[in-house]
């Protein structure tokens, strides 16, 4: 009975590694419950039988790519960590759990439902890069995850999964939880480091690689929370299993979310490479009664719009680019026919303008300017030349002209919005009012 139950559980986890063990009510799994699902087995195996380089090699072969938005291959990032012969200590492994991309609610779900999965991922990742200090950087507004993670960390220390000489392996890791104080820019890797150091969290030059020169100038790796949650499963089931989970060249599953006026908003763990249409129709149930589909952003606020004709694209790291967008955080926000596209764009740009850290001039000045132009169009004060101004701003705030990627990210929905909603914008300008009001 017990063994068949176990087999069923293992099968479920092999299909849905990130969420298969979670309870339907979303309450956190305790350490014992997580262990009953095979939790911490990967850690035991790795510490007893695998060299750190083997853990890196496995994750590299698995083709795990960063789930925070940029999609950088995790194994490659780990290899950028200064070698263990480098005498500088401590070496840091940091989890970026400062989730704040509008429309995104995946890390919250993972941390609330299964905090130990994240912890096992932290310990394995830290072991791989031979870090002896770990930090989870968590958003202050996520107070349920704060409580769950605090409890989980204490339990893991008590069980000997954290602290000195973990499971008698000779490997030690001290882990702390850092709760931020609210700013989107803190999710930018180098701003996050400045924030942890107690400096104003503006980005650092992109020429400084954290693996060489990270927190307090020490070797450091920063990974997203969802990325980290994948690691125990890769070690347990192998690289090939993980690669085969994806329905595309990229390995694994991904948490996809859908919000807006759809029948069943929610988040689901699905293979990478699932089409946008399947997620929208089969999981989110299509549009709510009385609403028609106009467009969607597939991966949070800093991704380009997709139209009906693009919905057969696969949610992965390459196919969405073919149709002019990108996977971002995998958080789909749907725009319906009763929502004004100019208002939608204004809401996105207002967010970015407010969250600009002010460090570089194009972003600090350009984003509020963008917001003002969109607002005047939305309020019926727009002029024909406003389009030219917006195109100028898209150029001036584009990649390579700003210190970090916040402003270029902000321009992505705007640029595609100008392309797809030109008619709607023209109506605002020629009619001197918003047709939706």
């Amino acid at each position: 009975m017990i063994s068949s139950n176990n087999t069923l559980r293992q099968e479920r986890l092999r299909a849905l590694p990130l969420t298969g063990a979670m309870r339907p009510d979303g309450e956190p799994l305790s350490l014992e419950e997580y262990e009953a699902w095979g939790g911490y087995q990967a850690l035991k195996t790795a510490l007893a039988t695998m060299a750190p380089t083997e853990v890196i090699a496995t994750v590299k072969q698995a083709n795990l790519r960063g789930r925070g938005g940029a999609g950088f291959p995790t194994g490659l990032k780990w290899e950028s960590m200064s070698p263990i012969e480098d005498p500088r200590r401590p070496r840091y492994f940091i989890v970026n759990a400062d989730e704040m991309e509008p429309g995104t609610f995946k890390d919250r779900m993972l941390m609330e439902g299964n905090p130990h999965q994240l912890l096992e991922g932290v310990i394995l990742s830290a072991y791989a890069v031979q870090a002896n200090r770990g930090v989870i950087f968590l958003r202050w507004a996520y107070n349920t995850p704060v409580g769950n993670l605090k409890q989980a960390i204490a339990a893991a220390y008590e069980k000997g999964y954290l602290g000195k000489n973990i499971l008698n392996s000779g490997y030690s890791l001290e882990l702390t939880l850092h709760v931020g104080a609210g700013r989107y820019i803190c999710g930018e890797e180098t701003s996050l480091l400045n924030s942890l150091e107690g400096k104003r969290p503006v980005p650092r030059p992109r020429t400084l690689h954290a693996g060489e020169l990270g927190l307090w100038g020490k070797p450091t790796i920063v990974n997203n929370a969802e990325t980290t949650c994948n690691v125990p499963h890769i070690i347990r089931n192998g690289a090939e299993w993980f690669r085969n989970l994806g329905r595309c060249d990229d390995g694994g599953t991904k948490i996809f979310g859908v919000s807006g006026h759809v029948k069943k908003p929610g988040a689901w763990e699905l293979p990478l490479g699932t089409t946008v249409r399947e997620i929208f129709d089969d999981y989110a149930g299509g549009m709510s009664e009385g609403f028609k589909f106009r467009a969607l952003i597939p991966g949070g606020a800093s991704t380009q719009f997709l139209l009906e004709e693009h919905l057969d694209a696969k949610m992965d790291y390459s196919d969405l680019q073919r149709v002019g967008s990108r996977i971002g955080t995998g958080a789909i926000v749907v725009m319906d026919d009763r929502t004004c596209p100019v208002g939608f764009l204004l809401n996105l740009e207002r967010f970015f303008a407010r969250e600009s850290c002010g460090w570089c001039t194009p972003c600090r000045e350009g984003l509020p300017w963008t917001e003002r132009v969109l607002q005047s169009i939305e309020e019926g004060r727009g002029k024909a030349e406003d389009m030219e101004t917006l195109r100028f701003l898209i150029f001036m705030l584009g990649a390579g002209r700003t210190f970090c990627l916040l402003a270029p990210g902000a321009m992505m929905p705007l640029e595609s919005g100008l392309k797809y909603f030109q008619e709607d914008i023209d109506k605002h300008i020629s009619g001197n009012r918003c047709p939706w009001r």
Binding site: P102, F105, A141, A181, R200, S259, G260, N347, F351
Partner: protein, 153 residues
Amino acid sequence: MLTEEEKREILKEVEHYPHPRAASVAALKILQQRRGWVSGDLAEVAALLGMTPAELEGLATFFSHIYLQPLGRHVIFICDSISCWVTGYDMLKEYLQDRLKIKLGETTSDGRFTLMPIACLGICDYAPAMMVDEVLYTGLNRMKIDDILEQYP
């Protein structure tokens, strides 16, 4: 002036980090928790953290969750990001402003509520959402808001 207790609590945070200034956000939060907001002169706190007062002030003014003005007894954080905006933010904001007779960023004259905007709360499948103090409320409409406000005297 810092109380002895505040000082002790801040110094305890400092111990967790290799450099004292790393505890700056934690120190500001300690003051906020004890006093309701970050009141008084920051010079003394800065000295404990090995920072100049200007550096600490630069941090205090940067973060949206550090308050340099008194707040109401309860703080309503209403999410104004895209999923909540699509599902009714404007209407709910107007309703809250009318009911409380304040604008975003203001506190009611009886000191009961402060109304603040907040970026995406990460609960977009149950939008629209808001947080009152530390409690998250989702699937909001006018009636729900009435019920929620009742719970915060």
